[in-house]
Amino acid sequence: MATDDTVLTEDSLTLRPGGLAVALKVPWYRSLWLSSVSDIAVTVDGERVPRDELRVELGDRTYHVGELKDQWDTLWFIQDRLQVVVPRERPPAEGQEVDVEVAVELRLPYMQIAPMTYVTNHATNRRTLTAR
């Protein structure tokens, strides 16, 4: 699925204390278990945010990106958003435009091509978003 354009939406960027949050849609046609998410990368105004600084929220739970692989009993519903919380030394002001790029790497758990090897989907989406 050519999913690059589906990850971010116009209203994806919100302000948080000490930073911002980027809302992501699952770049696939169905809901997936969080264990299907191999990686998430976020670049803000051209600067790649270190992976360890990102926090991922789904519902009332928070994860490091590296912990998602173990969440094989939590479903990311196709119409729900993952919030990726990004700390910023100087958070943008409300209404400010921010250049955001996200890359989501998925492993599709029902599409096996060899033992323990699965079809992947890589979606990259870059947009200028207004902080709300």
Binding site: M1, A2, D5, T6, T9, K25, Y29, R30, S31, L32, W33, S35, K69, D70, W72, L75, F77, I78, Q79, D80, R107, L108, P109, Y110, Q112, I113, A114, P115, M116, Y118, V119, T120, N121, H122, T124
Partner: protein
């Protein structure tokens, strides 16, 4: 001689993935839109797409879904389940775990009134045999989808067929997906790649490779498919499409299958539902990449009177066409093809319910 079949017209909500994914419709709104446009009567869902929390479905949803079906007059045909054997990162699910993973999905199908559950190739003949008592318990049929790059003569499908013949249960069967039998690379995909700036040599190369594979015939082994996959990846890299190489290979070798339409004859007696996969409808109302007329001729000729879900997969790259209109286009083509084959397609809900409805209605 077999009496001509009368397939039931229908659609899978998968065709409208972009609209649902983009939150332009709630689930209920989408079902109503399908009914309003006359794209039923058959209705298929992908459980993990349409239903939040699937397969843990709360009683409130079951009640709401049943009243939605009563209100719209649509006929539930197939609930598509997923066999997520790679759920965990540390190991594959064991056979026991995979059977347990499928069980609640099958139970939900019955609760919602679906007579057929689509299951996937991760399931072996042994798994299907172990799931038979579950199908019997809930009184639904299990159809293992024959999806490109698998095809009717693939050894894995033949092994399933052999087991089905041994078990002889009407509750085990197949869901043929027409994507296994393409006749050309969809032009809309090439248009999308062209618009994305990939050079003409790459596009020509992709089509040439697909035609070479087509001449070779559908892949009988995984190494053969792997070799094709590698050829597309290598070609894409040579033309500087490295970040899109895997996607191109998945599309060219994974979606657009090479099985001659006539190969379906062996498995059609075991077809419990059909995915009328298609990509585009041209100005003449034909599908240039899927031989719909020929396929319908075979389906009708084999006496098939199950549902055919129009399954538009063009949305993967095609964000310009209206999914409701292209689905209506394929359904018109299917009706005309059935008429040309001396039969007809069922569009009346009562007739459809008699042919494909859950026996005994929804009461368990």
């Amino acid at each position: 001689m077999t009496a001509p079949g009368t397939p039931v017209q229908g659609v899978t909500l998968y065709s409208f993935t972009r609209a649902f994914h983009g939150r332009r419709y709630t689930f209920e709104e989408l079902v109503r839109e399908v009914a309003r446009r006359g794209l039923g009567p058959g209705l298929e869902l992908v459980g993990f797409q349409s239903i939040k929390g699937f397969p843990d479905v709360d009683p409130g949803f079951v009640t709401r879904f049943r009243s939605l079906i009563d209100e719209t007059g649509l006929v539930p045909t197939c609930l598509s389940a997923n066999a997520d054997a790679g759920l965990r990162r540390d190991r594959m699910l064991t056979d026991d775990e995979l059977v347990d993973y499928m069980r609640p999905q099958i139970a939900v199908a019955r609760e919602l009134g679906f007579p057929v559950v689509r299951v996937q190739i991760s399931l072996t003949p042994d798994d299907m045999e172990r799931l038979l008592p579950v199908a019997e318990q809930y009184g639904v049929r299990l159809g293992l989808e024959i999806h490109s790059h698998q095809h009717p003569r693939h050894p894995r499908i033949q092994a399933l067929l052999e087991r089905y013949e041994k078990l002889g249960s009407p509750l085990l069967g197949f869901v043929p997906d027409w994507g296994a039998s393409l006749r050309a690379v969809p032009s809309t995909l090439l248009r999308k790649y062209r618009e994305a700036g990939y050079d003409e040599d790459l596009l020509t190369g992709l089509e040439e490779l697909w035609r070479e594979h087509h001449a070779e015939g559908p892949p009988m082994t995984e190494p053969q498919h792997g070799r094709w996959f590698g050829q597309v990846v290598e070609l894409a890299h040579r033309h500087g499409a490295g970040d899109r190489a895997i996607e191109m290979a998945v599309n060219i070798t994974g979606l657009f299958g090479h099985a001659p339409a006539s190969d379906w004859a062996d498995v059609l007696p075991w077809a419990v539902h059909t995915h009328g996969k298609f990509y585009e409808i041209d100005a003449d109302g034909d599908e240039p990449s899927v031989p719909v007329r020929e396929l319908i001729g075979l389906w009708v000729g084999s006496g098939y009177s199950g549902a055919i879900s129009s399954e538009w997969e063009g949305f993967h790259w095609n964000d310009w066409d209206d999914p409701f209109e292209v689905v209506a286009g394929e359904q018109a083509l299917i009706r005309a093809s059935a008429a040309a084959s001396g039969s007809r397609v069922i569009v009346d809900p009562a007739e459809a319910r008699r042919l494909v409805g859950l026996p005994g209605g929804r009461n368990i």
